[in-house]
């Protein structure tokens, strides 16, 4: 198996994008390697025109629909790799949506870019992440160099990034700010038994208008996060615009793996499997540890969500 390669590619025009992307894709196809591109619809169209007939052999996804949140995205990459596990090398061109994202989302996606160095370690994935300097913020372009070990301008060369940061350090900085305080007077319940926490969440979800299935899925997510954290714990539930929030606070020691729950369950059961499930079901799962315990904050869509599949 080949070693994982994770590169950023900063481009400022359509031509620069194609100068990098086309050789990367064509080389992969020539080697018989699986190739996937997940980028904007604009760039997909450019690639289609540039590649001509060869484009038919390229897997593709409009980037907003290839993993809605970072945990889904990381899982989608791993699954793509697993699907072609008989290949030494799998090529992925992956350009997330950056513009229009909230500050917290930008941070979450930078965090994931750094985390991919660990999540995909040991795979034969060669991933190039294009950054459109015409649209991304200066901080996004700057951090691309910190989250990618190397850079590429032609889709072939591997130029080490001078500012690459160790992922654990980078993620530590992302997680440095404390989570916003829970609102005063929110529902707070002491939990001694997992059965109580899942019932509480299912009931609260239904009371706030979640339909049966979604309330049950949320209950499963909170149950699994609680199992990871361990009982006894204290659960707090409140609602804000766009999210039903559930804080779980337990006494256990710090959760040291910053990417716990980003890798999907494998053949052997692992402790973090439940956390992975929680991350798939929820919009956000944030973890903070301090001297007195550990908090897992889960946020799920409310009944007001109008998105369609």
């Amino acid at each position: 198996m080949s070693e994982m390669i994770h590169q950023a590619s900063l481009y400022g025009s359509d031509a620069e994008f194609l100068e990098m992307a086309v050789p990367f894709i064509r080389d992969g196809l020539a080697n018989g390697e699986p190739v996937m591109v997940t980028t904007t619809s604009g760039n997909l169209e450019l690639l289609g025109e540039a590649l001509g007939d060869d484009a038919r052999h390229v897997d593709y996804a409009e980037t907003a629909y290839f993993g809605r949140r970072t945990a889904q995205r990381a899982t989608a990459f791993l699954r793509y790799w697993q699907r072609y596990a008989d290949h030494k090398r799998v090529r992925i061109l992956a350009e997330p949506v950056w513009s229009g994202k909230s500050a917290r989302d930008v941070l979450a996606w930078k965090r994931m870019e750094s985390g991919l160095n660990l999540i995909l370690a040991g795979t034969g994935v060669w991933m190039i992440c294009p950054y459109d300097t015409r649209t991304v913020g200066a901080d996004v372009a700057r951090d691309a160099m910190r989250t990618h070990p190397s850079l590429s301008s032609d889709g072939r060369q591997i130029e080490p990034s001078p500012t690459y940061a160790d992922p654990v350090d980078f993620i530590g900085q992302c997680d440095a700010a404390p989570l916003p305080e829970a609102p005063r007077g929110c529902l707070t319940v002491a939990i001694d038994d997992l059965q109580d926490v899942r019932r509480l969440v299912a009931e609260e979800g239904r009371r706030r208008g979640l339909t049966g299935e979604r309330a049950t899925m949320l209950a499963v997510a909170v149950h699994e996060a609680s199992r990871y954290l361990g009982v006894p714990l204290s659960a707090r539930i409140w609602e804000r615009f766009g999210a039903l929030v559930c804080d779980l606070r337990g006494q256990r020691g710090p959760i040291s793996d910053p990417l716990a729950g980003f890798r999907p369950p494998g053949p052997e059961e692992r402790q973090e499997d439940g956390l992975w499930l929680a991350r798939q079901v929820c919009e956000y799962v944030d973890i903070r540890s301090d001297d007195s315990g550990c908090t897992i904050r889960l946020q799920a869509a409310t009944s007001r969500l109008q998105e369609s599949a």
Binding site: G212, T216, V220, R227
Partner: protein, 264 residues
Amino acid sequence: MTYSDEAELEPVLAPFVSEGLAGSDKVLYFTDVTHPAIVTGLLRAWGVGPDAYIADGRLDVRQMETTDPDLLVDQLADAARQARAQGYRALRVTGEMSWAVREGTARLAAYETKVQTLFDTGLAMGICQYDRRLFQPVVLAELQRIHQGRDMDLEFDGALLRIRRTVHPPGIRVEGEVDANTLGELNKALASAVLRQPGDVHVDLGEVSFIDLSGLRALVDTAARIGDGRSLVLDPVPEHVLQLIKLIGWDGTPGLRLRGGDPR
């Protein structure tokens, strides 16, 4: 239970008898018209290995001496008390019910209710064998009603979870919540269903209100290991369970069939 040929008896009676003998129960097998030797032969064929148990009195296969329902219940109660006095946990009873056709089915409901009262004491448990070729469907339906909820197919009955054996289709039915506290029971029921059934094993999850990741893993692992070209069929499956299995990517597990879908 109801049956129409001997092949249907085996999956229910063989584990009922052998688990009792492997555990700490005494077993009483009442025949009506069948000669006890034939039953002993059947038990041998089912791999129960009855002879040593018959020799030491722990397994008793005998023709019933009376067909008076009241006397029968009294006999059963005596035998159950005696078994307990001898240090057994309980008396497992199974019997052919064909006598009731001659006796008249009018008193059958009363008999079944009395027997159930005895079973409810925990001294005894039993399976009544109703030959569908002999009984009117309406009579069987009425008996089904009496047996509902407390038949011998119960594998596990806890505060959160109940697991039953099913014969049509062969497998188990799971009701309630599966989590770390009850996972062992689910694993046990799955393992024994896989051993008991020569063919596909059906798992009815229709009344499962909650199942955690380890419960799902137990189902999927069982499917992956079932072997012999068989499948573990989950049917019916509640929507949230189906969603979870697909989300985790376990819907493609070899040996797993969902809602009667195509075998993989």
